[in-house]
């Protein structure tokens, strides 16, 4: 267990008590958004409540990316995960990035990975999904 201070890579990732994602859910129609909203894109309601997203899901779609922006390790697997009815964008991690190991409908669970450490010694922790 690292003793370094850790922060989540994005605000919708919560590290405590165990790593999970939190969405803003429209209080009227139940639409979920991972970023902040002025109003719901589905029904224009302006009230939201935070909801925890299930940490297990299935791969609804994926692509194995060979060419990417500088600083991104390739190949990597970009995917859409169906987490109990909420779609989540993520990389598939802890799994060889090839079509023999990644498949449509595959069961996965949320996992975390340290993406870097800054000059103050703080680690940024990102999420991905690994085979369940």
């Amino acid at each position: 267990m690292s003793t370094a201070t850790q922060i989540p890579f994005v605000e919708y990732l919560k590290l405590e008590p165990t790593p999970h994602l939190v969405a803003n859910e429209c209080t009227s129609c139940g639409a979920r958004f991972f970023d902040r909203r002025n109003a719901c894109a589905g029904c224009f309601n302006t009230e939201f409540t935070p909801v925890d997203i299930p940490t297990e899901g299935v791969v609804r779609s994926f692509s194995i990316i060979t060419f990417a922006a500088p600083g991104v390790d390739v190949p990597f697997v970009a995917a859409v995960i169906d987490c109990g009815g909420t779609s989540v964008r993520a990389n598939i991690i802890n799994c060889p990035p090839d079509p023999e190991h990644v498949s449509l409908g595959m069961s996965v669970r949320l996992a975390t990975t340290v993406v870097g450490i800054d000059s103050a010694g703080v680690e940024a922790v990102n999420y991905g999904f690994e085979p369940a």
Binding site: V10, S61, S63, A69, G71, V72, S87
Partner: protein, 402 residues
């Protein structure tokens, strides 16, 4: 000033797509405009409006082009709608003509893209030794592209095709590669295509993998090009020569949609709902159904995209796109030829020109002027484009009865 609800393409032109190192966007756009005006048999003096699109240039392309081809003081609209920019320019002119504000108008799209790298991927990495700072709508401490899925176009559209496979089954790497093989084969008959060499299935599958399951030849070809169209209303058309009336192509439907909210549409762009909505509206407006179409030019920005649009445009039963392809229907000798121009994978995809160039292709066929690649007896065709984030343009075009 005349007015009628009938809208026609009086003249249309596309430049050769490919590398034009000695022509800038203004040269290319002006070439397309002069081609369209000559095809229409009119001049800039007849134009009541110009709408122009160019995504990667310096801006105000409409006025830049007027300075090259004629400054008549008409309203100039600079439009931008990603890969649907050309269709949006055309739609803008059609609305002005249909509203009765002008008799005739000019739409043009032009892009210089040869040599451009992957589109859509980006983001800045953290400089060494800095402290983490949150940025953007997700409060991210670094670029999310590549770390939380992908924003690269090949990867996004790969997932769009794979999602269809997850939902309905049967879509694998080989199937997508076969779609690409079809379009590259079609392009051999198109002298204006950026690439017009046939490629074998083996060549396509063994080429450089860009974003599985899309290899390089399964991605749209970055290239230079322009296309322009002259739009006229039916009353004004009646005052022109019989030859102009005979060659004019009827715009039986002109539709532009954006994406309505759907679960997941902000996680992976939903190119399906807005295309299906546009198709429904277009068929209703034109009073034709998919079975009446003689050819379709659809937005095959990647091989994985073509598959889903067979379904979205209702060329097949819902969920039946794989069977539709495997039946041979979308080949040029099939019952519903799709992308006989070679499509974006081989004809090329100079972004802002694409949404007029696909209409040019359909016009060539319904006029009976498509040369070696003519679809015999073509009377009605459909042209479709998608711009991400998202916009969908659909036009249905019909041969003149004159």
């Amino acid at each position: 000033m005349s007015r009628s609800d009938d809208i026609w393409i009086l003249g249309i032109h596309m430049t050769k797509f490919g590398k034009h190192p000695n022509l800038d966007v203004v040269d290319l756009g002006a070439e397309a405009i002069h081609g369209a005006l000559a095809d229409a048999g009119v001049t800039m003096a007849d134009m009541g409006i110009i709408a122009a699109g160019n995504l990667l240039g310096s801006g105000s392309i409409a006025q830049q082009l007027q300075k090259q081809v004629g400054q008549t003081g008409i309203p100039a609209y600079n439009v931008s709608n990603a890969c649907a920019t050309g269709a949006t320019a055309l739609r803008t002119v059609i609305m002005a003509v249909k509203a009765g504000e002008v008799d005739m108008g000019l739409a043009v799209g032009v892009e210089k893209l040869a040599g451009a790298g992957l589109l859509g991927a980006g983001g800045k990495a953290k400089a060494d030794n800095d402290e983490w700072a949150r940025n953007g709508r997700f409060g991210a401490v670094g670029p999310v592209d590549g770390r939380i899925g992908t924003e690269s176009m090949p990867g996004v559209f790969a997932q769009i095709g794979m999602e269809y496979g997850h939902k309905y089954g049967g879509a694998d790497f080989e199937l997508f590669a076969k779609i690409s093989e079809k379009n590259h084969s079609h392009s051999t008959l198109n002298p204006l295509a950026a690439y017009n060499k046939a490629m074998s299935l083996e060549q396509i599958m063994n080429d450089v993998m860009i974003a599985y399951p899309n290899t390089r030849p399964m991605c749209s070809a970055n290239c230079d090009g322009a296309a322009a169209a002259v739009v006229i209303n039916g009353e004004k058309l009646k005052t022109l020569s019989l030859e102009q009336q005979r060659r004019a192509v009827k715009v039986s439907a002109s539709i532009l949609t954006s994406d309505p909210w759907q679960e997941a549409c902000q996680v992976l762009p939903d190119v399906n709902t807005l295309t299906r909505n546009a198709a429904h509206q277009a068929y209703e407006q034109a009073g034709v159904g998919p079975q009446d179409l003689n050819l379709v030019e659809l937005h095959d920005c990647f091989a994985t995209a073509e598959l889903v649009h067979y379904d979205n445009l209702m060329l097949c039963e819902e969920g039946g796109a794989v069977d539709f392809f495997e039946s041979g229907a979308p080949y040029r000798d099939g019952k519903m030829p799709v992308n006989v121009s070679g499509g974006l994978q081989s004809k090329g995809h100079p972004i802002s020109a694409t949404g007029i160039a696909n209409i040019w292709e359909v016009c060539q066929h319904v006029r009976g002027e498509a040369g070696d690649r003519q679809i015999e007896g073509a009377k009605v065709g459909l042209a479709h484009v998608i711009g991400l984030a998202s916009a969908c343009g659909i036009h249905i075009l019909e041969r003149s009865a004159a």
